[in-house]
Symmetry: C2
Subunit: 461 residues, 2 copies
């Protein structure tokens, strides 16, 4: 119980150090580490170097590890005899377009007062730099009180999470012995929407694809060729319009193989969360849920698969008008997957669907943008109960086991490659605007997040 007797000291150390902690976060957020944009390659590395220096300063054995893509940051605390923990986060961020919709430059962080309390506004504030720093501030306070870091901590911070993590699986395989621990802690999820603390126990998988349809070998004038020549935009539009039926169900053969019905137990837990889909949508200017008929809101976002068109472009999109039949048209699409759906089988079915829509003259290119299974945690591991208690104590509310609609393939990779389960604990809010203009992170999430990790460290020691 020694650690628990000193937890209050650690918590008050965190409270006293909050201003300095925010200064560190602001500095981190100033680095535009957009991993999908080659123009920001050096910025991504700068963010890795910054993290590595922070960790070395705390006494971690920290290093920046090169990969074929962006680097990994790996750090270890001194070896001890307790069951080891692996902490994972990512230091890369989403692109910022459309820049015109940002109220201020996305990489000039600002602390702002809002009706809901103070927030820090910047790209990456919530996804995932702010959350990642809650780990580091907890370790810092722990060391200040105990004079040393907790033993057997391994930290793994990635710089390619927003671009499909191409280097992650090989890196885990090549460094499995170094990285394997008793359980992983992943800080890339959120609270339940009304601010209730939560541990995410299931995540949707993702399969992403870019399609390029080619027709004529040049742009054509619709006056000369309209009516005779294939229009790749029309072909693309027709193909994408039939991936879902009028009830919102995906029509690809075998698509629903492995999609589980919700267990009565989880259904009861989720019903208890009193999720109101219309209220949820009203935060973004919408009201009416779409999607598969006959499902509850939480089923739709946590337990059902989806098909979405994430981007489309073709022909003349500038000012004014141009009566052109373009040479090509493009779309980026993604499927959210659940249960044991097989991303590769679905990719085959989707590509067959697109090919079937092509006239003789046209050809299609596919560009793979990642494929990951959904994942579910074994919540009978006592560490889950311990963490749930620690979270409930910090937030004064019973923590909930929830699902997540987003993909965190790392959880599946840890299971598959390192044979370990993950605890997905984060302090993001539904209104954080991750992946959107004007992303923010609540200071309350940041401060109590760090306190939560300190409590969890104590509870698992």
């Amino acid at each position: 119980m020694q650690d628990n007797s000193r937890i209050e000291e650690v918590l008050s150390t965190l409270d006293k150090g909050l201003p300095q902690a925010l200064d560190r976060l602001v500095e981190f957020l100033r680095i535009p580490s957009i991993s999908t944009d080659p123009a920001h390659k050096d910025d991504v590395r700068d963010a890795a170097e910054w993290l590595c220096a922070e960790l070395a300063g705390l006494g971690f054995d920290a290093s920046v590890r090169d990969t074929p893509g962006h680097p990994m940051v790996v750090a270890h605390s001194p070896k001890g005899d307790r069951r080891g923990l692996l902490f994972y986060g990512h230091y890369d961020v989403q692109p910022v377009d459309p820049l015109t919709l940002w109220d201020r430059p996305p990489f000039e962080p600002e602390i702002q007062e809002t009706p809901a309390g103070r927030v820090i506004r910047a790209r990456g504030a919530a996804d995932d730099k702010g959350q990642l720093m809650t780990f580091i501030e907890a370790f810092r306070a722990w060391k200040a009180v105990h004079g040393a870091l907790p033993t057997d901590l391994t930290l793994l911070f990635e710089g390619e999470e927003e671009s499909g993590s191409p280097s992650l699986q090989p890196f885990l395989r090549d460094n499995a012995d170094e990285l394997r621990a008793g359980i992983a802690m992943i800080c890339d999820t959120g609270m339940y929407s009304d601010g209730r603390p939560a541990i995410t126990t299931q995540l949707r998988g993702l399969y992403g694809e870019e399609i390029v349809i080619h027709a004529a070998d040049r742009d054509l004038h619709s006056g000369s060729f309209g009516g005779l020549a294939a229009n790749p935009i029309q072909i693309l539009v027709n193909a994408l319009s039939t991936v879902k039926d009028e009830n919102g169900r995906v029509t690809l053969p075998g698509f629903y193989d492995g999609v589980p019905e919700l267990s009565n137990e989880l259904r009861a837990d989720w019903d208890d969360l009193r999720f109101d889909a219309s209220e949820f949508l009203s935060r973004v200017g919408l009201k009416h849920p779409i999607g598969e008929k006959g499902r509850t809101g939480l089923e739709m976002v946590w337990n059902q698969p989806t098909f979405e068109i994430n981007g489309i472009t073709g022909g003349y999109t500038g000012e004014g008008f141009k009566t052109v039949l373009p040479a090509e048209a493009r779309a980026k699409v993604s499927f959210r997957l659940t249960g044991t759906q097989d991303p590769l089988a679905i990719r085959d079915a989707f590509r067959a669907h697109i090919r079937a829509a092509l006239p003789a003259d046209c050809r299609v290119e596919f560009h793979d943008h990642g494929a990951s299974h959904a994942s579910r945690m074994d919540i009978t591991d006592p560490a889950f109960a311990a963490a749930k208690t620690a979270l409930s104590q910090e937030w004064g509310r019973e923590a909930a086991y929830i699902g997540a609609g987003g993909s965190i393939p790392i959880a599946g990779d840890f299971k598959e490659i390192l044979g370990m389960d993950s605890m997905l604990i984060g302090f993001g809010r539904d209104d954080d605007r991750i992946h959107s203009p004007n992303e923010k992170y609540d200071l309350d999430s940041f401060a109590k997040g760090a306190r939560s990790w300190a409590r969890i460290l104590a509870a698992l020691s």
Copy 2:
């Protein structure tokens, strides 16, 4: 017969002056007069001033006339007693994107040797600056031989043809008495595809529209909202996929009202042209005609209406991938119209079709991009026969009456506002790549085009 006795002198003057005529055309093509792009507003005016100076130098009473948009150039030759002719062309050009597909800068004209003969390559070479200059060179040679311009010529050159001619109708109405003539000569069409001289006697109309579908008030993360929130790209795609049925027929109610069946006489003429749709498409890397089943190729491009998606954009279209549900999606579409189809009735039907596809949450904006009726000329006017003979003499082949798939609303405007018919005579080729990268105009078209106008001037004197 005096004029005809001197036509050979005019033709040899044109032949001797070709190098200087090309220098003038190159100078004209260097001016990037893109009327749809506000950034080129001054360039459009420069092109008007350049033309006005050329015409004044030939002894025309020429002026640049301001409009709410880009200016008109109007010129008159001395009044005489013969039946007047109105010559129309446009000095604005299409946008040049995608610039990367151009082999050289679009506004640095170059004379190039090709297997099919010499061409001048630049944006606007064929559409319409090169054709417009065939008028002017014919007048120049005529004056050199006769010592004076033909009498009763009126020239009207427009700078908004590629952007829907918003100022044209008001300008024609405000200046009807000044501009009215016996017949109009319009130089914005082509030869029949195998280089056979032609007079275009019917043109398709055009209705253009931009659609913007709005859903959430910001871009959303498909992990958080996918499955629940409306995706404006999917809504747009679904709506655009049902405008045509599987046989290529437009499904809008009343769309085919006023679409004429081809007369047996014209069908015979067109069959005589031996149009091979597969050969035509093979020039642009295609082979298989699409479009409404059971129609001949020429019917499809000249006598049948079409629906085309000219541009589409929404969501993330940059490098890499972004799992976003965008706030909006856009498309530019156009319909080619024939017979007496009513553009405004079709606009109403199309807008109703899009609105019917909108979920409760979403809204749509429409931006009108012009609406013009199709037009048909009265070829019993003897001027048609005279011009047909002159063309046949110049090219050594029987000139043909043909249709055009493109829209030249000016022909309809001349009929409606000035009560005059038009003769559509041009020397463009199907491979001129108008509206596409690497646009060109054959020097043969330019030289024999000017000679053709000299013959027509003589024939109609």
